[in-house]
């Protein structure tokens, strides 16, 4: 414990500015004397060692586990490294609408503007949008900004009920802001929105100003064009692509903006293997809600948009632009193989009537909430299989597992391996196999898929001369 306390002391000293004082002075001196002094400080060394230990544990965990969590991915080396590239935390206002420099303008080398230009350009292209706001610091911020920018006190909005996969971030905020919440009417058997009942709901409640398709437990593509046609002109239709962003950008799912959505938004760390950031893309640059939504993002909900993540976002989206179609197709093929494999093994897989899945997700029904929790945090975790538990949409309140194949697709697994994965999951879920025995098989399978060369990524370019120049600058 003494060591930990000492390490924490160093951090506190740094926070008080002691370290800054100690290292101020001549640059040349700092480059020689102070560095040597820092090396000789055992407390710094201990702090670094303890950090290294945590990274050893985490990296080994990621190497050794089958990641079947629908909401995570493996970012490539460049995405990981560029996050540390900017020297210091610069502010960057850069809203997605034309504006004069004002209170929120900050001096800039020009590099930030250049990076923002690259990022917004590729974002607009990938989502067939007129604008691309890179600033939300997460998917929740993005959808909350959409809610607050489109609805005022006394208005209403419609989204998926939690049991149907709706996101948790909106209802409490809506209640606090005086916005009425309505749920999308669903057909349990098909897991599709009942468009006729939605039209009736909106007609009966003229205060509804927003319909937001915020599903996180998502097996199907919703009939967006019919939904748009059923909604009055002034109702804002938003599509949350946090989960299926890469499938849309990769062209295996339709573009929401082309089917009538006013905006598409989402985070960039699920099927898109980027940093934990988010975006909002408007179909129309003159949309009356563009400015209020964007202003809710920044400066009203967040003043700091983590500009250091612009470059990693740009690389992640560029990977999608270059490899997205193959990646997205492989995701769908893998999800179908996993679902089919589980079904053949005798596991109850949701959605048999529509071929189990149209996305990266596969839902497995296991029983009670406790049962699902025990599996995901207990036996499956001990077997080296990482999943999350959910209330399965359309399963009459039964709970189960939400599996996602995007991370293992990036790791290089294909249909044949996904059938192996199905067998391993079934051994635990269905046959209650000893987790340690399954874990050995998981390790055996994953040894063929090391993490240092991710598929559908720029990892193979890391050793190129161009990357050497880039990284040389990044770490200069």
């Amino acid at each position: 414990m003494r060591v930990v306390e000492e390490a924490e002391e160093i951090i506190e000293e740094a926070a008080r500015g002691d370290v800054e004082e100690a290292s101020s002075g001549d640059v040349g001196e700092a480059a020689s004397g102070d560095v040597a002094e820092a090396w000789s400080d055992g407390r710094v060394e201990q702090l670094l060692e303890r950090l290294a230990s945590d990274f050893v544990l985490d990296n080994s965990y990621r190497e050794q586990h089958l990641s079947l969590t629908a909401s995570e991915n493996y970012p490539s080396k460049l995405v990981r490294m560029l996050g540390s590239g900017l020297q210091g935390g610069f502010y960057e206002f850069a809203p997605p609408y034309p504006t004069e420099p004002g209170e929120w303008a900050f001096p800039d080398s020009g590099a930030n503007a250049s990076l923002v230009g690259k990022l917004t350009g590729i974002g607009r292209q990938l989502f067939e949008a007129a604008t691309f706001d890179w600033r939300p610091n997460g998917g929740s911020v993005a959808e909350q900004a959409v809610l607050l920018g489109t609805c005022g006190r006394g208005d209403g909005f419609v989204h998926f009920a939690h049991k149907d996969g709706g996101h948790f971030a909106l209802e409490s905020l809506a209640a606090a802001a005086g916005v009425n919440t309505y749920h999308l009417p669903m057909v349990d058997r098909t897991l599709l929105i009942d468009v006729d009942r939605l039209a009736t709901l909106v007609a009966e409640h003229p205060e509804i100003k927003l319909v937001i398709l915020d599903q996180s437990f998502k097996l199907r593509w919703q009939p967006l064009a019919q939904i748009r046609a059923a909604l009055p002109e002034g109702v804002f239709l938003a599509y949350d692509a946090s989960h299926d962003g890469a499938l849309i950008a990769g062209g295996v799912l339709p573009q929401p903006t082309l089917l009538g959505a006013d905006a598409v938004h989402g985070n960039t760390h699920k099927t898109i293997a980027g940093p934990q950031k988010a975006y909002i893309a408007f179909r129309d640059a003159d949309h009356p809600k563009l400015r209020p939504v964007s202003d809710w993002v920044c400066p009203q909900m967040q003043s700091n948009s983590h500009a250091e993540l612009i470059a990693p976002m740009y690389v992640a989206l560029s990977e999608v632009a270059l490899h997205g179609h193959d990646y997205a197709r492989q995701i769908l093929a893998n999800a179908a193989a996993l679902a089919g494999g589980l079904h053949e093994e005798g596991v109850r897989v949701s959605g048999e009537s529509f071929g189990f899945t149209e996305t990266h997700q596969v839902h497995v029904v296991t029983g009670s909430a406790n049962d699902a929790l025990r599996l995901s945090l207990g036996d499956l975790a001990l077997a080296g299989i990482r999943t999350t538990n959910i209330e399965v949409p359309g399963a009459n309140g039964l709970h189960g597992l939400r599996l996602g194949v995007q991370a293992m697709t990036r790791r290089g697994l294909r249909e044949a391996e996904m059938r192996e994965v199905a067998r391993l999951v079934a051994r635990v879920v269905l046959r209650r196999a000893e987790p340690a025995a399954v874990r050995a098989e998981v390790a055996d399978l994953l040894q063929h898929f090391p993490l240092d060369r991710l598929a559908f990524s720029f990892d193979s370019y890391v050793d190129s001369p161009a990357a050497a120049r880039l990284l040389g600058e990044v770490f200069r």
């Binding site: 230990s53 544990l57 340690a436 050995a440 055996d444 063929h448 001369p465 990284l471 990044v474």
Partner: protein, 602 residues
């Protein structure tokens, strides 16, 4: 130079994904003398403390990837033994082979001899920690097949051309004893044809190996080399075309050993795995074998996955996919025959490793057993309500200390001597304590011996029984499978030839079957021929498992002691056996049908 190495220090780039982990408590890691000893092992280190306990780390990491946990030992004497027992139980919940190291400043705090297998102390100036790590890794490799299932490193120079196959259908006989090579070679010389003989690693270890002292793999490799030398000698002396084939190898190390010994052909057998894993294993093993100019046979379908002669034929669909996804010379399939296989080698490696660990501590007085007994009795005293300062607690602690100090195995200085001395001086009411302690100690020793005997029985229970009936092969399936292979340059192999009638055997050449393997039937025939020459009763009803094997091996060793000198003038039983090989096994494979009625074994 890579882009990363241009900007990051070399140490930061060194990927050590194959290095095992060590979980080190913060107290140990920050102990000045201990840390260099641990650092020089080059392991991936995770530092544990109150916020991230060793148990939590062990839950996160795959069991086989953690070599050992190293913690400080905060107490000494008998309390240390109790502490050690408790910690080992907690740390080894999921992996009984986890290495455990206790750091002690004073070597006298805990006698290492009192510790169990793969547990040790770390004291200032220790130099043998690398040897301990090596031992943990060695035992783990023996026990965990997945650690041996890593894709093998390939020899530098690729081979030239692929060796040529034979034409027609050749027999392949199991070698249960090296003396069986002579009749096989004679058969080849007399018929002027190729004859294959095969040996599996399990057979090599249990039937042929002189010693397993350097580990099962080394023993098997030595058998392979010896057999190859014998085969070369026989071929040279008799002009025979005897070839050596590796049977049922499901790990890369065995495949490599056979290739390096000079075998002509290897079976890379992934049929105990799922089809997908079978393909992965087969391809990696094939790539390895190709570097040695060796013919490769793969297996498809569950030939007998439970070892119980289960009837589950290869499906044409699986066979087609397997052939398409691999690059083999031969494919073995299940066409309805009886066939016992011996995946027992992996289990045998596990059993031998456990026996080794038991042997390791069961020396002399087995101070480990005595320490455990002391800790057990101390626990019982506490449970009975005796306070820690009581005379009885102190007596047990004193006995533990004296036994460690005595350290000898003879009646005067060993544990017996310590107990005898104590009996002479303690009050009568404390005497039962001594006898309970002795009972606990002896029971632990006995339990170890019992466990070893049980393990040996398990090892020798794998010997297949001979079938006394014929299987009905699925001729339609054989045609379908050979149809899949037609034009690919590959041949079908049929195992379990002893279970096929000679009529069925005689149909196989027409189907285009390349090789038929004969195992248990040939071995039984060899024993029968030998017993006619040198009578002995091998069918004692009381002998089973280990004893049955010991009897047979003893008899074979005695009866064939001079077999290498028989080349010029073989004993009559060898000729009898060669005739039988020709009549029952080789002739049908040249398409000759038997004269006698179908169904009888001549």
């Amino acid at each position: 130079m890579s882009a990363l190495s241009a900007v990051l220090p070399g140490a930061a780039l060194r990927r050590r994904t194959d290095a095992p982990h060590a979980v080190i408590s913060a107290e140990v890691w920050h102990t000045e003398w201990a840390r260099p000893l641990l650092e020089e092992l080059g392991l991936r280190t995770v530092i544990a403390d109150e916020r991230l306990t060793a148990e939590r780390v062990l839950d996160t990491l795959a069991a086989q990837s953690v070599a050992f946990v190293c913690e400080e030992l905060p107490v000494s004497g008998l309390a240390a033994l109790t502490w050690v027992a408790r910690r080992i139980e907690a740390l080894r919940r999921d992996d009984p082979l986890l290495g455990v190291v206790f750091m002690v400043e004073d070597p006298r705090a805990l006698d290492p001899r009192a510790l169990g297998p793969l547990v040790r102390t770390l004291t200032p100036g220790d130099t043998d920690l690398p040897a301990f790590l090596e031992e943990v890794r060695r035992v783990r490799r023996e026990v965990h097949w997945e650690l041996r299932n890593r894709r093998p490193e390939l020899p530098a120079a690729p081979a030239g051309t692929r060796p040529e196959r034979w034409s027609g259908t050749v027999p392949n006989f199991n070698v249960k004893h090296p003396s069986m090579l002579l009749p096989y070679a004679l058969l080849s010389a007399r018929t002027g044809r190729d004859v294959y003989c095969e040996i599996s690693p399990q057979e090599a270890l249990l039937f042929v190996a002189d010693s397993g002292g350097r580990g099962p793999l080394a023993a098997v490799a030595e058998v392979f080399r010896t057999l190859q030398r014998d085969v070369d000698r026989l071929n040279s002396a008799l002009g025979s075309r005897l070839r050596l084939h590796l049977d049922h190898a499901d790990d890369y190390e065995v495949v490599r050993a056979a290739c390096e010994a000079g075998f002509d052909s290897v079976m890379v057998d992934g049929s105990g795995r799922t089809l997908h894993q079978n393909v992965l294993f087969t391809n990696a093993a094939t790539e390895l074998a190709r570097r040695y100019d060796v013919l490769v046979e793969g297996e498809i379908g569950c030939i007998d996955s439970a070892g119980l002669r289960k009837w589950s034929k290869t499906t044409t669909g699986d066979f087609t996919r397997f052939v398409a996804d691999t690059d083999l010379d031969f494919v073995g399939a299940h066409i309805g025959q009886f066939h016992s296989f011996d995946y027992g080698f992996a289990a045998t490696r596990r059993s031998l490793a456990e026996i080794g660990l038991l042997d390791d501590r069961a020396v002399g007085d087995d101070l480990h057993a005595f320490a455990e007994a002391c800790a057990r009795v101390e626990g019982a005293l506490t449970d009975a309500g005796l306070p820690a300062y009581s005379a009885e607690h102190r007596l047990v602690a004193a006995l533990a200390r004296q036994a460690m100090e005595a350290g000898g195995a003879d009646a005067d200085t060993g544990v017996d001597g310590v107990l005898r001395a104590a009996r002479a001086r303690v009050p009568v009411f404390q005497r039962p304590l001594l006898d309970v302690l002795e009972k606990e100690w002896l029971e632990r020793r006995l339990a170890k011996s019992r466990r070893k005997a049980e393990l040996w029985d398990g090892v020798f229970a794998t010997e297949p029984a001979r079938e006394h009936r014929y299987a009905a092969i699925d001729h339609g399936l054989v045609r379908a499978l050979t149809g899949v292979l037609r034009g690919t340059g590959r041949g079908l192999v049929v195992h379990g030839g002893s279970s096929l009638s000679r009529v069925d055997l005689a149909t196989l050449p027409a189907h285009g079957v390349a090789r038929v393997n004969f195992g248990s039937g040939v071995y039984a025939d060899y024993l029968e021929a030998l017993r006619a020459h040198l009578p002995v009763d091998l069918k004692s009803p009381s002998s089973d498992g280990t004893w049955k094997h010991v009897r047979r091996m003893s008899y074979l060793a005695e009866a064939t002691r001079d077999w290498r000198s028989w080349t010029d003038a073989p004993p009559s039983f060898v000729d009898t056996f060669v005739s039988r090989l020709e009549r029952c096994y080789a002739a049908p494979l040249r398409g000759r049908t038997p004269a006698e009625p179908v169904g009888g074994r001549s």
